[in-house]
């Protein structure tokens, strides 16, 4: 099954506030609510964002830091609920972001493959079948039984990426996951991603790298302070982005 994503008029508000039991008391006593929350603030991370990703297509999402790109991916991944609007997802998801967040330093590479794989929704049977391929992809066969805490940060990231790309998603969400390892490993990651694309996996790619977005995406949207500032081809979106950056600087 090819996955599809529809984002319709999505708004997302975050609240910034000090959170202690005093706030709980404040929440429970409506009359004191105002007085208890001097630091309660809200800001809109996304404002009226809409787009569709058709089955097998790749959408690039670009924009400055804090423009709402990662929030958008988390909404698609179902990790957050939009404050308004609707996100519809059809198919199995995998999110390539903060690889290795589930690793435990005391456990070995092999043990962490099973742990991380389970977190990504792989079954015991799938993981047993893919263990060797995952370790080979990460080039960590020799270090499989060493605790991950003694890995270099590059090794840990490679392992995280290797597990993630051995999931079998219909929809692949990628958040800046390419700052991984050396040039050679990066090329292999890209190869793997292109393989997903060729196999008809639907993708949403968040990145600052023009080259990457141009190579992979069919459509690109530019986010600016949570709003869609431009959409079109990657070249068009990056053109708009550059005008925006220059405009801010002037």
């Amino acid at each position: 099954m090819a996955g599809a994503v529809a984002v319709e008029g999505v708004w997302k508000r975050f609240r910034l506030r000090v959170r202690t039991l005093a706030d709980l008391a404040g929440d429970l006593l409506p009359s004191r609510r105002r007085a208890m929350h001097p630091l309660r603030q809200a800001f809109w991370a996304l404002a009226d964002v809409s787009f569709r990703v058709e089955p097998g297509a790749t959408l690039g999402v670009i924009g400055a830091n804090g423009s709402g790109k990662s929030t958008m991916l988390k909404l698609i991944a179902g990790m957050m609920q939009p404050t308004r609007g609707r996100v519809t997802v059809r198919g199995r998801l995998a999110l390539l972001a903060y690889l290795g967040a589930g690793f435990h330093g005391e456990l070995t590479g092999r043990e962490n493959v099973f742990l991380q794989g389970a977190i990504l929704g792989l079954s015991a049977r799938q993981l047993k079948a893919k263990l060797d391929a995952i370790l080979a992809f990460a080039e960590l066969e020799q270090f499989a039984d060493v605790p991950v805490k003694v890995y270099s940060s590059g090794m840990a990231l490679r392992l995280g990426f290797a597990v993630a790309v051995h999931a079998e998603p219909d929809i692949l969400l990628i958040d800046e996951a390419f700052a991984v390892g050396d040039q050679r490993f990066r090329e292999r990651c890209l190869e793997r991603i292109r393989g997903f694309k060729a196999a008809g996996v639907t993708m949403v790619l968040v990145s600052h790298e023009r080259d990457l977005v141009e190579r992979l995406s069919d459509h690109t949207v530019l986010l600016e302070h949570g709003r869609v500032a431009a959409r079109g081809t990657a070249a068009e979106a990056f053109g708009a982005y550059e005008r925006l950056v220059r405009g801010d600087g002037a």
């Binding site: 179902g78 990790m79 957050m80 609920q81 967040a101 589930g102 043990e111 389970a118 079954s123 015991a124």
Partner: protein, 256 residues
Amino acid sequence: MHNLARFGYLLYQLTLRDLKARYKQTFLGVLWVFGRPLIELGVYVLVFGAFLRAPTNGIPYPLFAFTGVVLWSYVAGGLSRGTRSISSHAGLVAHTPFPKLTLPLATQGGALFDMLLAGALFAGYIAYHERALSLAVLWLVPVGLILVAIVTGLTLITSTLNTFYYDFGYLVDVVVRVWLLLTPVAYSSAVVPERYRTLYALNPLVGLFDAARGALLQSRSPDPATLIYPLAVGLGLVAVGGLLFRYAEPFFAESV
């Protein structure tokens, strides 16, 4: 069905991690599982057994206290660690889509495993004392399940609140300590004066600990009526905790 199998496998992996991580990090390793209840037991034997001479209805005090210590190790471990299970996995919760319910449940699994290991030690102790067991021991199964329901339901509530209010965990620590004193772990509920009995029995663990002791050490089947209240509390907590957790889960990623 497919999803349920994956959920189960993830729960298994997280429980395994909970156990491995704790035992690899500590100097004494698995010995810690035995060491902790034994140290607690030693103190109870000294203070309540030797100093205060707590009445135990003819049961040797060490046996009496060991039952309480083993059961309590699950209550304290499951609740304290479970409360922090979401906030202590902030990176994972904030950046990875997966069913968060597995985190508090995995800490329950880890705490239960600790209890069963300590229980195995206890079984050896009982065998050494050549105490006869009867079929009444089978009552430990429903009693254990009700205990799991109570602690798991509470943990779902506390782990949710601890995600939104950072200092909630400290409150839980205090409550666990007070709860220990208000539960017949080191002393018999029979010492509670008549006029406090009703109030005291509001603690659902009282009926459970009494029933477990009777079944294990006195071959006595509990009056099923005494288990109705703990069962109702357990089911209520699981229902409330489950609904609260399900309602709050979409907000975890932005709150940890």
